[in-house]
Symmetry: C2
Subunit: 461 residues, 2 copies
Amino acid sequence: MTQQIRLNAFSMNCVGHISSGVWRIPGDQSYRYTDLDHWIDLAQTLERGLIDGLFIADVIGLYDVHGGNADQAFRSAAQVPVNDPLQIVPAMAAFTKHLGFGVTSSIAFEHPFPFARRMTTLDHLTKGRTGWNIVTSYLDSGARNLGQTRLLDHDNRYDVADEYLDVCYKLWEGSWEDDAVRRDAAANVFTDPAKVHEIRHEGKYFKVPGAHISEPSPQRTPVLYQAGASSRGRDFAAKHAESAFVAAPSKKLLKEYVTDLRRRAVAAGRRADDVLTFAQFTLVLGETDAAARNKLDLYKQYVDRDGALALMSGWTGVDLSKLDQDAPISELQGNAIQFTAKAFSSADPDKIWTVREIAEYAGIGGDGPVIVGSPATVADALQEWQADTGLDGFNLASITHPGTFRDVVDLLIPELQRRGAYKTAYAEGTLRDKLFGRGSKLPAYHHGASHRALAHKKEFA
Amino acid sequence: MTQQIRLNAFSMNCVGHISSGVWRIPGDQSYRYTDLDHWIDLAQTLERGLIDGLFIADVIGLYDVHGGNADQAFRSAAQVPVNDPLQIVPAMAAFTKHLGFGVTSSIAFEHPFPFARRMTTLDHLTKGRTGWNIVTSYLDSGARNLGQTRLLDHDNRYDVADEYLDVCYKLWEGSWEDDAVRRDAAANVFTDPAKVHEIRHEGKYFKVPGAHISEPSPQRTPVLYQAGASSRGRDFAAKHAESAFVAAPSKKLLKEYVTDLRRRAVAAGRRADDVLTFAQFTLVLGETDAAARNKLDLYKQYVDRDGALALMSGWTGVDLSKLDQDAPISELQGNAIQFTAKAFSSADPDKIWTVREIAEYAGIGGDGPVIVGSPATVADALQEWQADTGLDGFNLASITHPGTFRDVVDLLIPELQRRGAYKTAYAEGTLRDKLFGRGSKLPAYHHGASHRALAHKKEFA
């Protein structure tokens, strides 16, 4: 059987997400992100295309590394202004039946007790279509605004995240037994208090004595997304994540990532296919290759190189605007620069990249591949990338709104379906059911499931 | 001209809100609170009745004073399980055009920086129909779950709240100038960074150096709701609130509250009518008085006295279950008990109340009046209560879902309209426009508006 391609849509509750300057393309509607109809229309388009989920990125903070301030980010709408990703989901859920929703929330910005209730609420309201993209945050400005001097160092952040997850698992998996809610009018019992358990968590970073205040949602734990690229981040993903998102411009890096993550998942006691891998891709589709190339040419006229530099400076923590824009990047100093250089060299091994060229390249699609062509050309490419890397699917970013996703749904999906590489109907059930076909809950051998013992009073017996 | 009656609907994202045990009434659908359709249906009903707003209560914590644990609260569904109030609003907003939404959020459970973004987001998505019910929290169990030993003492909580509000005002009113967002494709400027200002807040409780990361929403500051009953709470309301909610069982107490709050508002430099006052009422409506009384008789069969005691014990902080249930409450000790005794004595001065009787009384409608009768009878009563107390309107709690609010809309509203005491169409504009008819923004002499100076660089000149 032809290998199935999974598709996620990647967006953000803001104007400019991955590509820079494209809000200026005539007719683009990205500025309508404050309007519910904008999102409802997107959700309906994606569901028409049987897209697995809409993954909504977020940052709390500004891209203020470039030039030492956020001026360029403001001018370029580089992920600012940016609104809460959570609140667009309930409206989209009311107009769809199958589309999943992956909401980004950082462990740095809300205590796990109220956060766990937010996710339980969303999983109820979406009838089990909720995912959580776990981030540990990378913008210092966000931390400063919460009264912290700066973010925790990188590895320590993952230690906090591990404990944060444990608090959430205890609340989601361990606090309420399946039959705690009786709704028995004759006995005058709505919830049986004997079946609701205090989690009594006392850790290094959090103390949470009480019970969850929400009844269990369809999935209990939302589908867990993660996008950590570092070694510590990969271990975290291997332990917790059910969908892992990666951005890298070459097959070589993506294959290495997929292979490594599966190895780590197995080392963590899970199955290699318990973590689905999605690579960030940007597609430019036309009826013909020429039409698609014409679109790309148009888009390139609007690329905002300074906006791309602002984003990349935030991602790497290095002020790329201060560098000689025409120097070969391989000659520049610093780990982040070297990483960037390695990534882009890998995309085109024969090319000697300058900072300017990388910014221009990244202006469309960031550090993920951009595939341009007719439905057949793009389908060929996706199938080839999948075969060569072992990826489960692609996390598709948009360039124009609503153009990019409409093209994916109207042009690409039918072509993939003709090839037998894409589903022709959604599976039934919750998001976790749809992705894995093994029920709505975490598998019993997932680390989070170990906290179910609470609900059986093993811990307090 | 006949005095206009304003109506809010009062609900909560849970099964049992103010009345106890009524989820057991045959056909009641309160248990469907996890379903978006439940809320969308409610919102459409309320908008059909030209109701000003839906006020959504919240607690983070359990009613665990009764008996020293939350067992009774669980059994009686006394505000547990309880889900996030915020997330039901975007779906309701997508299906309505005029209804306002007052979301409860405590200053104890989220840092003002991300919270301010949540409110800005909601005000965008509702096109300016957002209110915030500011609470300082009263359940210790919530605080313990966030790693705090207990809640701050009462007056100190209001000091924190004052500073929390100042951070929010600076972000909402002072950070972005009206024309900061240019969306000028030709000039390649989305936001003009010269018109976005860091708030540089350094206070006793919060340090927030940065700018708001969201662009201004239609109202900037959401309509501010408050329900503090203490002297310090009333001063807080007099300074900040635009709608004040009060629960008291008698005209005497309500009139005292309204008069006192207006006096305090004027002392705070505002107009007496800058704070609208709404009293919590519960209405039992039938085609005739006899039909309404039959409904009440049915409801009373389902009253859960223990559930009412659990709620009241949480509100007062006194374990009422430990008291002699048949002792006259005036003879019992403790400030909260005395307050309760005073309140109920005031409802019926000739009656000597026992704990048991108060719990039975409060089982329907809590500590607010319950009005029973035909549309004419209820309309008479509301007009009389309004004339005798100076209230602007009523905050209507429900007994059955969807019965109570459907009765209000189908039976009461037409009667009030016939009397010229109720609008026949919504006013245009945002929630603040609709309530005050003086524009979408806070009036210039409101304390929050003083922080607009930031955006004119007065502070940093």
